[in-house]
Symmetry: C2
Subunit: 230 residues, 2 copies
């Protein structure tokens, strides 16, 4: 008898979370993907997340409405301009205005709640600490501390039934390594979305930090970028 292992996979519809999902799938997990409608300024992320969920034939794709806009503090949820055409050096220094306070902590907390209900001990998150654009909640020491806390937070943890593991398969990969890895696993990146500031029709701007990292990643991977930039 084969035992089906479940995993909750955080999915933003971008390159990283989609590659993390491909890895979870390859490792034999049955996938429960989790996305958030958190007051992003556009809905293309969620459309991509839906395409990705369909592509990987997930068991369930849950989209939770959450209210980060009220808290504010980020150009992704408030009326602060997204910076454009920044030099590479500047993009990797300091914490950008696109940082959303406590976002990964909030996302992982919901994943933890759902994992507990599903009786699942595995959560995948596509954070990377290498092409690190300055987000504190993408660092390995943060993820380790979250995992430790999570194992004290839950019924399963207390009763010692399930040991929860936060998988970060991309944490030591550059963007080009991620793209190469996903391509080998058959990911079609045309279904993914990266741009922080797309046109009303959904075309990527090509000049925000996220587009610049994406372009650079495809170039360095030697793989054609399927994105249509406006």
């Amino acid at each position: 008898m084969s035992i089906i292992k479940k995993a909750v996979v955080l999915s933003s519809g971008g390159i990283d979370s989609t590659t993390a999902m491909a890895i979870a799938k390859q490792e034999g997990f049955s996938i429960y993907s989790l996305s958030f409608n958190y007051g992003q300024r556009h809905s293309f992320e969620l459309e991509s997340a839906r395409r990705v969920a369909a592509f990987f034939k997930v068991e369930e794709h849950m989209i939770l409405d959450i209210d980060l806009r009220k808290i504010g503090g980020s150009s992704l949820t408030a009326e602060i301009d997204v910076p454009k055409k920044r030099p590479a050096q500047e993009m990797t220094q300091g914490i950008p205005v696109t940082y959303v306070p406590a976002r990964n902590t909030i996302f992982l907390s919901y994943a933890l709640g759902w994992a507990e209900v599903l009786e699942c001990g595995d959560i995948f998150i596509g954070v990377t600490a290498v092409d690190y654009s300055g987000y504190p909640d993408c660092r390995p020491e943060y993820i380790e501390a979250f995992e430790k806390m999570a194992n004290l937070a839950t019924k399963a943890g207390v009763e010692n039934r399930t040991r929860l593991k936060i998988h970060t398969p991309l944490i030591q990969m550059t963007k080009s390594e991620i793209i190469r890895c996903g391509s080998e696993l058959g990911v079609d990146y045309s279904m993914t979305h990266s741009c922080y500031d797309p046109s009303p029709e959904g075309y990527a701007c090509g000049s925000c930090d996220s587009c610049l990292f994406r372009k650079k990643g495809f170039t360095e991977a030697g793989i054609p970028d399927p994105t249509e930039y406006k």
Copy 2:
């Protein structure tokens, strides 16, 4: 010049969080209270939280809509019966069906995000590990692990500007000690709400775990219970 210290205080409108707020106020913090509309089966909790916010003249009372009902797994958010008239011994053993998976983790994560935006290093939560009704996320070791994670999660933490502290002033108090403490600080407990299963008019049932703990607390404190039970 006096420096005004800000604190985010989690407020459910119940005895514990209201007492925690009274303590934060007495310690000189200016209060930002945070409540959640999380698909509780009734809205009396939020009405109480609003009364409490007005009573303490908080700087701001934020109510966030969050979607715990979709995740399920609890009698407080799903269609599972709330247990009634359980013997005291049974109430303090195991984890009850009123447990909401990862609830305190999710609540504290939002508090962390708001604290970061407010540039505030103090969060109060009214958890207690003594009259402990079996919730894993009320234990001191859980709170310590959350605090450690939180200090790695944020911009302020990384830049070493603010050291975040999770205050749990009630963690070693029994319900009667909490009620005595709050009464000495002038809390009017008639504005608070504890019942898991109130009547449509808002009267407490008097027989769920939460009502039973509340009644016992007032009796042991030797203070009249202002609650009208149906």
